[in-house]
């Protein structure tokens, strides 16, 4: 621990930042966020600005803390008893770690898509309608029908499933399930969508569809995506942040980070020398 403190004083964790050539308004602002699992520190003083209506990718080797950081954005880390988060995190200028904040509302505003497609073992219709139902966004069946269709349209799944809305969502293929999960997240009109390696369980064709979808969703939503694939980060994101051993090493516009990284560790990682 003391070594960590010393390192912090040395400003060894200072993130290398490259300004955005086309600056966008900031949606999420994290300052000095650290995460502890019990005694073990998993994330060290991460500060980053996530721009609005753009895709920000987190890359880095396994266990570098990128998923942990992502899960701070909608306080999913709350579900882990021993997990403790320090620092400040603002979504739309509101501190989400304010004790007065209702986590239920936060998660409606900050949706999440997980690594493994996890549709509820209910019908496709019920999967989409679940969020609006619990948040009271619709009342009549007609209103729900509209939301279901819109969400599935946005997720590019409508044409594939419109004839079997009442069949179980778990009966779809892996890629369709993941797009169903995206549609489910979109159904409550969130401001931010977090994606935790959304394509790691999918084949290349399904991956391409999801990536295409992410690119379309960017127009309306702020998207943060964690990915193991640097190619994916390069393809879908406007900004990329590189994590290593719990430290945010470098972040900047994707094209800059991939072509002329300032840090040697970033260079080594994106050229495949480690990780």
């Amino acid at each position: 621990m003391s070594a960590v403190a010393v390192a912090a004083n040395d400003k060894a964790f200072e993130t290398v930042r490259t300004p955005d050539p086309e600056p966008r308004p900031i949606k999420i602002k994290a300052s000095d966020v650290s995460v502890f699992y019990g005694e073990k520190q998993a994330l060290f003083d991460v500060s980053i600005d996530i721009p609005e209506r753009a895709v920000t990718a987190f890359i880095g080797p396994s266990g570098c803390g990128k998923s942990t950081f992502l899960r701070c954005f909608n306080r999913m880390n709350d579900t882990i008893d021993i997990c403790r988060v320090t620092g400040e995190m603002l979504v739309s200028d509101a501190n989400i770690y304010d004790p007065r904040l209702d986590v239920v509302e936060l998660r409606a505003r900050v949706g999440m898509v997980f690594q493994k497609p996890n549709p509820f073992p209910k019908s496709i219709w019920d999967n989409i309608a679940y969020g609006p139902k619990i948040h009271g966004l619709a009342k009549t069946k007609a209103e729900f029908d509209v939301i279901v269709e819109e969400s599935l349209q946005k997720a590019g799944l409508w044409n594939e499933v419109k004839d079997r809305l009442h069949e179980p969502g778990t009966g779809l293929s892996g890629g369709q399930q993941q797009r169903l999960c995206i549609a489910r997240a979109v159904a409550v009109s969130p401001e931010v969508i977090l994606m935790d390696e959304p394509c790691s369980a999918l084949d290349p064709i399904a991956t391409a569809k999801v990536e295409e979808l992410i690119d379309e969703l960017r127009e309306n939503y702020t998207i943060v995506i964690v990915t193991h694939s640097m190619q994916q980060a390069a393809r879908v994101s406007q900004r990329t942040a590189f994590f290593h051993l719990g430290i945010l090493v470098e972040e900047g516009p994707t094209n800059v980070l991939f072509t002329s990284p300032k840090e040697k560790r970033t260079q080594d990682y994106i050229t495949g020398r480690f990780g």
Binding site: N74, T79, M112, F114, N118, P119, P121, I134, H135
Partner: protein
């Protein structure tokens, strides 16, 4: 890689030592398999011996020797307005006299004893339920007394010297006469299921025990199901993981291992003596059984909750569902098949439990099925216990028959559990 390498590994794999090693490994596989098959054979064999011995002694209780006796319910003896009063004993005597006019006075008593001692009440009950029988001659099928029943079933042999059997020579002769005249029949013994307990084996049945067991299990279910689920949900989903919850968890597991007789003593001390609940009542029986089932229920429910994949919880939480919504809308429905299976198995265990019921007096001699959970009753296992203790020859077969009935209920419940599990099981 050099070209000599493959030949050298070839010689390694084909050397005597290597072949011997492989042989040894395959031998070990086979031995393990044989051990398993042997174990299963022993288990099935033991079960087979149990069932065969029960069936071979119990099958006789599923039929009952009856005599067809025409009885003239004369309106002189029985009033049409109040058929419950009347000398039915005399009616039966008259009927016997009419049917067997040759039997002298000295032997008549022995003839009379060939019928069940409750023959008069059987006739009376039929007449009370159907008063139009008064003034008519009706043929009643009356169970024969236990010794005659045993004689008919071959348990008592006419060959045995008279002083060493419970049937006199006169009775053997009379029985032969009855058989020749076609009065004797051995139909299926519905009384085994629809009669309550009796001191006379030929009349004793399981109705009281079945109803008592049903009420006790109902109470047990109503207590242990909601309490067990609530406790399990709290421990699994809400309780912080600390020393206190660790202690609670260990103690729940301990509770599951407590001998059931201890719960019976607890029930006796607390429910009967302290709260003053009625003795022998299915309510108390159910409460005591639920003490026993509860730890099982909690453990099973927790296991089912744990088996719900975390991705479902995460998905729901990520949608902004609150904790109770995650639990009631996602986790519990998915865990329900497992919970139900565990519940049925727990209840099946409670159904066969005897010791705690003995302590709270559910082994009383009760001649009518209970009308509610507060009335005295027996349960199936305690009824077996009572019958096994009775000296009459007829109760030997009835004990085995009762065990078969109990096993039948247990097997049915377990099959329902297996069916539910395979039917409702979800795969992710």
């Amino acid at each position: 890689m050099s070209t000599t390498a493959p030949t050298s590994t070839d010689s390694f794999w084909h050397s005597e030592a290597a072949i011997a090693r492989r042989k040894k490994r395959h031998g070990a596989d086979r031995r393990l398999q044989i051990f398993g098959i042997t174990a299963i054979t022993i288990a099935i064999g033991l079960l087979g011996i149990l069932i065969v011995s029960l069936v071979s002694t119990g099958y006789q209780a599923f039929v009952q020797t009856e005599i067809a006796l025409p009885v003239n319910v004369s309106s002189e003896e029985v009033s049409r307005d109040d058929p419950s009063k009347g000398d039915y004993r005399d009616l039966i005597r008259q009927a016997l006299h009419a049917e067997f006019p040759d039997v002298g006075d000295s032997e008549f008593r022995q003839l009379e004893q060939m019928l069940t001692r409750n023959a008069q009440f059987i006739v009376r009950d039929r007449v009370v339920s159907n008063p139009s029988l008064v003034g008519q001659t009706t043929t009643f099928h009356i169970p024969m007394a236990d010794p005659i029943d045993q004689l008919n079933k071959g348990v008592i042999s006419a060959e045995t010297p008279e002083d060493r059997r419970r049937v006199s020579n006169v009775q053997v002769e009379l029985f032969d006469q009855m058989e020749q005249r076609g009065l004797v029949s051995t139909p299926f013994n519905w009384g085994l299921f629809f009669n309550a307990d009796s001191r006379f084996p030929e009349l004793a049945g399981l109705a009281g025990a079945i109803v008592g067991s049903f009420y006790a299990l109902l109470v047990c279910f109503l207590i242990s199901f909601p309490v067990g689920i609530a406790a399990a949900v709290y421990l699994e989903e809400f309780a912080p993981k600390n020393r206190l919850t660790d202690i609670i968890e260990v103690n729940i597991n301990n509770l599951a291992a407590v001998p059931s007789v201890v719960f019976g003593l607890l029930g006796l001390a607390v429910f009967l003596n302290f709260f003053g609940l009625p003795r022998s009542a299915p309510l108390v029986g159910g409460m005591v059984l639920s003490l026993m089932t509860l730890p099982t229920m909690i453990i099973v429910t927790r296991a089912s909750l744990k088996a719900v994949p975390p991705s479902i919880r995460e998905g729901a939480l990520g949608m902004g569902a609150s904790k109770h919504q995650v639990i009631t809308q996602h986790v519990l429905p998915l865990a329900l098949p497992g919970i139900l299976t565990g519940t049925i198995l727990g209840l099946a265990q409670a159904l066969g439990e005897t010791a705690p019921l003995l302590l709270i007096g559910m082994n009383a001699f009760i001649t009518s099925p209970p009308g509610g959970i507060m009335e005295p009753a027996t349960a199936l296992p305690t009824q077996i216990f009572i019958w096994a203790d009775s000296p009459e020859r007829g109760f030997v077969a009835r004990t085995s028959a009762a065990i078969l009935v109990l096993l039948g209920f247990l097997i049915t419940m377990n099959m329902i559990a297996i069916f539910l599990r395979s039917r409702l099981e979800r795969r992710w």
